[in-house]
Amino acid sequence: MSHSTVPRSRAGARAGRKAPDGSPPEGAGGRRAAGSTGRGAGRPALRLRFRRDRALILMTLPAIALLLVFTYIPVLGNVVAFQDYDPYLSDNGFVAMFESPWVGLENFRRIFEDSAFWHAVQNTFVLFLLQLVLYFPVPVALALLINSVVRPRVRAVAQAVMYLPHFFSWVLVVTVFQQIFGGAGIIAQTLRRHGHQGIDLMTDPGIFKFLVTAEGVWKDAGWGIIVFLAALSAVPPDLYEAAAMDGAGRWRRMWHITLPALRPVIALLLVLRVGDALTVGFEQLLLQRDSVGPGAAEVLDTYVWWNGIRNQDFGYAAAAGLIKGVVGLGLVLTANKVAHLMGEQGVYEK
């Protein structure tokens, strides 16, 4: 039985091995070829394959079961989006799902008529684009910088320090920002002590989205740096050497070798980021909603939370959540398509 497994696994494994071997990450695309080779070979009978792979299937099951129970089943609960759901109609909220009146698309109609919803959509997208544009350059630049430092000690320390804020909770980040940039914060008070006007960066709706992005960069740039550094370390040094022999200077080498090497990683992170586009910083924004008002801080997730939890409008909140899910999925598929068109692999195979 195993004779059919061996060549196939070898093909798959070999392709996957390329990157750690030191070939450029683009080589990862080889896995696609491996996949098609696998499909091309004639399939053994289902029963045989089951006997051959049952250990593998068994191993997969716990995770799949958890996902089915805790992700897929609750998704079914989204039917309340088409109801005027009142969980208290019955002794059990589940049973109440069968007793609540169906209202068709009424919840969706109400959502689309709510200007606050469109505001939230707009904020979500603006914030997402801003993060997209401003978030990536920082870790990429810092990764390049750290990579160009030769001393391992400096590199290690720099990396460790930059990674630290990743572990801060949002409550802490917001509190610290308030104490530094707030109207009675360290900067404002220092300015005042020297006879200037104080500043308050925390309550200005106009710059709020930049503030949120800055907080995000501060907190998570370290994570990006580590990913990019890993990708950079995979660039074979002989490429640089060859380029240097051909007379390419430092900047040309960066442009023609380093950045292309980062492309697949950037593409991957971009696609993942797009998947998160509609979930931009729920906690971060909820914490700061009162500081600038919902006009600037309301995003789709806080909108859903507000209506579902605070107003107890469960059907409405579920409908908004559904819209979000569908749009999010569409965005990811689009982004992945774009990544493919640009010759990158994206998150999953075509």
Partner: protein, 311 residues
């Protein structure tokens, strides 16, 4: 660390600077200065806030009152906030809960994820594509809070620590990283083991896992950080305040500006500032990850590379 960039760089002692390759230009002085300055600024931007938090947690009430908030320049040093937090009461209880949940949860998540990742690491195995699709789909849509709550409640998990572990036990991203790493392990090794009659369980345990220490360390850290900093599930699934983990207590203390009642006397007698207590709780919440991550850091490159680059 250097295992991924084989060749040219000779390792002479762990921290010594490797010789600059002969083809590389000597950096200009200005360039070096610029680099140093930028790195220093970036480090400062991160260390300064951290400094304020740590320093404030170590100050007396008088210093904090004089500063009118967080303290930048320390005056004196007192561990009173930490002493208070660690001598019984809610915070200590919460810290124990957090440690317990993090350890158990990480072990459980790792077991489930490693198994799943290995199970999916053989392209062409039965159901492989279906399972993979099932996994991937979850990355892009989720269920609402209320259905999830009702489900957890119906399973009888409310007021149980299982509610903090099971619903968030599986991270598809982490499984994909592990899977990619497993797929990169030399097939010759696995083949020869198979010829020796080893089954998949044995291969996983004896060959794959020992070769995957780097990625296991990284993913364990990811899971551990996830469990350690989670608060939302606890806030909705637990009704018993005695069971709350550290992050929830911290949120209560910091965000809601509540005072830990157990400390009311110390605070009221004027020795202890509520702010110092808040900062001390934050330091406590940060400490384990901050201490742990440098040890895992050296695995980052290897673990992340295969994972992140190949998804």
């Amino acid at each position: 660390m250097t295992a991924v960039t084989p060749g040219t760089r000779a390792r002479s002692g762990r921290w010594a600077a490797p010789p600059r390759p002969p083809w590389e230009e000597k950096p200009s002085r200005a360039g070096l200065a610029g680099k140093g300055l930028t790195l220093a600024l970036a480090a400062l931007a991160i260390l300064f806030p951290l400094w304020i938090v740590v320093v404030t947690s170590l100050q007396s009430k008088r210093t904090i009152d004089a500063a009118g908030g967080l303290v930048v320049v320390p005056r004196g040093f007192t561990l009173i906030a930490y002493e208070e937090l660690l001598t019984g009461g809610q915070v200590q209880r919460a810290a124990l809960v957090s440690v317990g949940v993090t350890l158990t949860g990480t072990l459980f998540s790792m077991a489930v994820s490693v198994l799943c990742a290995y199970g999916l690491s053989r392209t062409g195995s039965l159901g492989h594509r279906w399972f993979l699709m099932l996994l991937l789909a979850t990355m892009f849509f989720g269920a609402g809070l209320i259905p999830t709550y009702l489900l957890v409640q119906a399973l009888g998990l409310t007021d149980s620590y299982l509610a903090l572990i099971l619903p968030s036990a599986v991270s598809v991203f982490n499984i994909l990283v592990l899977r990619a790493f497993f797929m990169g392990i030399s097939p010759e090794l696995i083949d020869s083991a198979r010829i020796d009659g080893a089954g998949d369980w044995r291969i996983l345990w004896r060959i794959v896992l020992p070769l995957s220490r780097a990625v296991l360390a990284v993913i364990s850290l990811f899971y551990a950080v996830g469990y350690w900093s989670a608060w939302f599930n606890a806030s909705i699934y637990l009704t018993d305040q005695d069971m709350m983990p550290l992050q929830n207590v911290m949120i209560q203390l910091v965000q809601k500006q509540e005072r830990p009642v157990g400390l009311a006397t110390q605070i009221n007698t004027g020795q202890l500032s509520p702010l110092a207590v808040q900062m001390a709780v934050m330091v406590m919440a940060l400490l384990p990850v901050a201490v742990l991550s440098p040890f895992v850091q050296r695995h980052f490159k290897k673990g992340m590379l295969t994972g992140a680059v190949k998804g």
